[in-house]
Point group: C3
Chain length 238, copies 3
């Protein structure tokens, strides 16, 4: 699955829906041995959630968007396939979350790329299931520090804390992903055993989590900060 939503693979409602449909199809295809997620775009794996989905939208639409974010996570973190993230570019916020749902993470060893849950930098608190996914990946302490600072890691740092599993030269990310994938020959239930409690937690709190998101994101103060942030981005481009 090669992500292609120019310019930066932002996760819009439409793109998330496409991803979910693709994953579901592969999941049901018995000839499919697994899934490698990568990006078709240069320099970026995914820039994360599409900020335009959170600006000036109705509460209903915001809720629909958040449900799609949850669905993407539920499908990927709970996948029965062997999943590998071939991280061939930067991967902040939702891009990092998507990487962490995979069984194994291979990142291009380019110091210009970075990865991390940097929501805090934007004045947003990562939801509990983002936090749980990161805790399962790098442990309690690193997650606490990382979320508090909204820290982004370069590839070497990400490898050191265990946020990615392997660094390879940029032009060999795809090669190594396939090699690694081929090593896992059998489907395995230990993955679902490890992840079930984390998945069950969101499943049981799903509606409340949507309510939380909608009431937060539709606040006047938050809409105003997003507006200012978008203005700043526009100016930077000029």
């Amino acid at each position: 699955m090669s992500l292609q939503n120019p310019p930066v693979n932002s996760l819009s409602l439409e793109f998330l829906t496409d991803i979910c449909i693709s994953v579901e199809k592969l999941e049901m295809d018995k000839t499919c041995r697994g899934l490698i997620i990568t990006s078709s775009l240069p320099k970026v794996f995914s820039a994360g959630l599409d900020i335009m989905e959170m600006y000036g939208k109705s509460p209903e639409r915001c809720g629909e968007f958040w449900r799609a974010v949850q669905e993407m996570w539920l499908k990927l973190y709970g996948s029965n396939m062997v999943t590998i993230a071939a991280i061939n570019g930067s991967s902040p916020a939702g891009g990092c979350l998507m990487s962490m749902t995979c069984d194994y993470r291979i990142m291009a060893d380019n110091p210009r790329y970075s990865i991390g849950l940097n929501e805090t930098q934007l004045g947003i608190v990562a939801p509990f299931w983002f936090k749980d996914t990161m805790t399962n990946t790098v442990g309690h302490r690193t997650t606490e520090l990382s979320l508090q600072l909204g820290q982004m890691y370069n590839p070497a740092e990400a490898l050191k804390i265990g946020l990615v599993d392997q660094l390879v030269p940029e032009d060999q990310v795809s090669h190594y992903s396939h090699t690694n994938h081929d090593q896992v020959t059998t489907p395995d239930r230990s993955k679902s055993m490890m992840r079930k409690p984390t998945i069950d937690k969101l499943t049981s709190k799903r509606e409340a989590d949507i309510q939380n998101f909608v009431s937060f994101i539709t606040k006047d103060s938050i809409q105003k900060s997003i507006g200012m942030y978008l203005e700043m981005l526009k100016k930077r481009k000029r």
Copy 2:
């Protein structure tokens, strides 16, 4: 306690029962200051559960066997003694589990030896309490990857991920085990505080866990694969 069940210290029903009785006796002996578990056989600590106990046996017998495996784990992981694993040989599957029940693991620094929960390689899923014991030892992420791949680690790798605590020259495993043991002078309740939730979980789900094992292992398809595996072993020996 020096394991001696040639040729490879397989954990049969009889051998497990012997181990449990020995541990129970030591536990009640107030002059006993602790327990060092090692192997009397060359090159192997324990090859794990005896596959012959899972082949062509009645459901009743399979259930009895599994109860003994649980009992061994409950007795060792919940021991009030200071326990040290002196791992002087390879230690796959159930052998690795037994090592992980101890308070401290010293392994012979011989790159030919390996240790790990490699059940997946045999088409078996490690039960939840194997998984919990490993998570308590090396953390969530390493356990997930390790179980999915059924990975075996050489001594250096095992030290790096924290699956063992210390590597020593092969002829000094016993010496270092005693030295380390002598450093712990007082019995301590912090161990039981750390392990209680994990132990309580199996205690409360014990019968269901036996049912799971019996219904899985007595399946025709599983019996057939075990049969083929045994054939292969026979051929290899010739």
Copy 3:
């Protein structure tokens, strides 16, 4: 907040009460951007709980003391401020606990200093919330081993296991603490999300935890060992 209770910043009932009042004031002061905890005394951050509060006191007084220890932990671990421990001296037992409540730990790189939960060495079992705080900081396995041995770590060892986050030259602990503090510009709710389950656990078991402490510490055998320990300290001083 600079701890000053000579000679070694022992946490007496009175000193704990002072600390709690100071923290509460800062918490309500909206101009306060955060809290750096350090020691005004040479060579010691805090020697931990004042042993004189546990010797020859009435059960009521012991209960009052323990409630103050809990309150200090609840206030600091649950603080809405950005908190940094500037550990400019040794920090055993309760001193280590206080450090671990902070968001970030900077320690003087002086090999004579040490830090750790060494209660076991004194024949005391660390209560569950000491254990939980350490598990959140350094993980399950390191906590288990550390509590069982009552291990103290020099700065290099403490950095390696993640008990402290940064080592700096002794005369620059204060400088680096302020520099680090300034990097965290926004208050953040991810901290309370990470710590809430641990805090809720003590809150819900607070009275039982006090009862446990009082009935343990007022035992004749424990009072006798404390008496002998104090005699030994006196002789050492002469």
